[in-house]
Assembly symmetry: C2
Homo-oligomer: 209 residues x 2
């Protein structure tokens, strides 16, 4: 908790170094995700990564430091996975639908994601807070943009961004981590319909349901 946020001093300068660092982070994802922070030793990570123990210390000073790096690493992987999937969508609500579908898929493919983020609250609290702040800010900007373009109505984008983020996280808990049979596309359809129209009864002249 008393270290620099990214320990950028140790960020590798070569492509090979970046690959090794990624390999260590990938192994850390598997290990911490499966067994939790306290049960994992640096040894477990290097063994899984197929990297010598001494090499670990070229990139990270300690178990805590790789965990602190892992949180923003996972965070940015989620974001770029979603960004790729919504690159060509025509409007915000389609982006929400495709984005949620992608998010549910990502959660299923990365079984450790939730555990890593949740345990960060206790192991690397500032990284936990930063993770949600970064997501909320991106959401707020996207909503404000869509509001400006008339794709959604105007509103309190800050409140909305936390509400929508909460929906996504809990649906990921329910249908990504939990019930893996549910079709992500169907879930995303239901949620974006809720997000777009609300649960209130439509006006009589607007039978949209």
């Amino acid at each position: 908790m008393n270290q620099d946020s990214t320990s950028s001093a140790k960020l590798p300068k070569t492509a090979r170094g970046r690959r090794t660092r990624e390999k260590l982070l990938g192994a850390a994802e598997e290990e911490f995700g499966a067994r939790g922070y306290h049960a994992v030793a640096i040894n477990d990570i290097t063994r899984r990564a197929g990297v010598a123990l001494g090499t670990f210390y070229v990139y990270f000073e300690s178990k805590e430091e790789i965990y602190r790096a892992l949180v923003p690493y996972m965070s940015s992987r989620v974001r770029s996975y979603i960004a790729e999937r919504i690159a060509d969508v025509p409007d915000r609500l389609t982006a929400e639908r495709k984005g949620l579908e992608a998010f549910l898929e990502f959660v299923r493919e990365h079984k450790g994601l939730y555990r890593i983020i949740s345990e960060a609250e206790f192991v690397a609290n500032d990284k936990f807070v930063e993770h949600y702040r970064v997501f909320a800010k991106a959401y707020r900007d996207n909503l404000a943009n869509a509001g400006d373009r008339g794709q959604i109505r105007e509103g309190d984008y800050e409140v909305w961004s936390w509400a929508i983020m909460g929906m996504a996280v809990f649906l990921g808990m329910r249908y990504g981590e939990g019930d893996r049979d549910a079709d992500p596309e169907r879930i995303a359809d239901v949620v974006v319909d809720l997000m777009a129209h609300g649960i209130g009864r439509p006006a009589e002249n607007e039978e949209q349901n």
Copy 2:
């Protein structure tokens, strides 16, 4: 994790016994909420409760056991705090508004709530899962009821319940735990407007925002 869900064998039969057990749970809330599971000793709890160490063992077998009891205890306190506030409301959306307002207030008054529930994921995982399952089920039943009565439109109440629960939890994180200046009534208004109407643009003949 290998114990009975409520260790009902030790539930006190007298009013005095119930008061002592409550006192211990209240002290446990303060201690675990402020410092986390691992940093707290049984001693800290009994000292804060003003109860002899031996008395602790009349009610709980271990630190783990009082933590396991604390999660459903907090869970039911949140629910009854909200239930009291929405007892006389005329419809579901008013219940959502008053309920969210009450929830934000509860989070502000119980600074340890989030930490206790979140840490339960690691310390008493089945209690963590149960907490959200119980909430989701109550939500689903309420939504289905409201749908039957025509207070809201019909939909996939299971998906909706997790989405709405997620909203509440994240707004509690943002405006209950975090920004304590924001007016709970205003936040609840914004959220229930979102919940009722969505973020989509209203039909032209229905300028509701």
